[in-house]
């Protein structure tokens, strides 16, 4: 059975309870969810607004490809990713990834994998605004290192 995959990019807030319910397909035994929030920082790094720019079209496409990669690596029942764009305040949710599977091993691995590739492949860019001014967030090498943990699936030449 093909996994139910959903990728959404939107300005408005999302409803984790409804997203969770949509993952509970078939004889689902395990759901793993990740929610990422805007952090407020402190002192000279304080953030009052986080601005999220993206590349409409490529964003949705890259999220869908990441979900398809995950579903090809693990026997998933369902996987959803929702990413917000526009202006967000500290404490607001930015991103939600949920995975439903028969067993927890694949649900944990796939959720972690989807976040790693979202962070390093999906065309989103963050700009922080605060009392000390505005600055684009720099890409972190730790994100590249996390993404590099995932070897290509067996039998794949990618």
């Amino acid at each position: 059975m093909a996994a139910v995959l959903q990728a959404q990019v939107q300005e408005q807030a999302f409803d984790p309870a409804a997203l969770h319910r949509s993952l509970k397909v078939a004889d689902c035994g395990a759901v793993v969810e990740f929610t990422g929030y805007v952090r407020g920082g402190e002192g000279s790094a304080a953030v009052t607004t986080l601005e999220l720019e993206h590349y409409p079209g490529m964003t949705e496409r890259s999220l869908q490809l990441i979900l398809e990669d995950a579903a090809a690596r693990w026997p998933l029942l369902a996987a959803t990713v929702v990413h917000r764009v526009g202006r967000l305040a500290p404490g607001e949710p930015i991103v939600w990834v949920g995975v439903g599977a028969a067993h927890r091993g694949e649900a944990f691995a796939a959720c972690d994998f989807i976040m790693d590739f979202l962070k390093t492949r999906a065309p989103f860019w963050k700009k922080e605004h605060g009392p000390a001014g505005s600055a684009w967030v720099e890409a972190r090498s730790s994100d590249d290192e996390r993404a590099a943990r995932w070897q290509p699936p067996q039998g794949s030449s990618r």
Binding site: Y55, H83, W136, D143
Partner: protein, 83 residues
């Protein structure tokens, strides 16, 4: 025509988010287009000369030697920072 798009820091440095340029046989690969664009002036040289610049052709990340065809969408952007 090639439809060029610029995002995030690259967009701000250029003061430009999109541009249409004619397709030409002497700029028919990603790297040739890039060096043509860098010749538009010092701002273009600076914004498009960054070593970590990413380029997507028709919404897929491209390599320098990739061919460009009439009508392609070519996007220039810094490393991504979503999530």
């Amino acid at each position: 025509m090639l439809r060029l798009l610029f995002f995030a820091r690259v967009r701000e440095q250029l003061g430009c988010d999109r541009l249409e340029v004619p397709w030409s046989a002497d700029a028919a690969t990603v790297e040739k287009l890039l060096s043509h664009l860098q010749q538009r002036g010092p701002q273009w040289q600076a914004a498009l000369g960054q070593p970590n610049l990413l380029i997507a052709v028709n919404q897929c990340v491209a390599e320098p030697a990739d061919l460009l065809r009439e009508g392609d969408e070519v996007a220039f952007f810094p490393p991504v920072t979503g999530g």
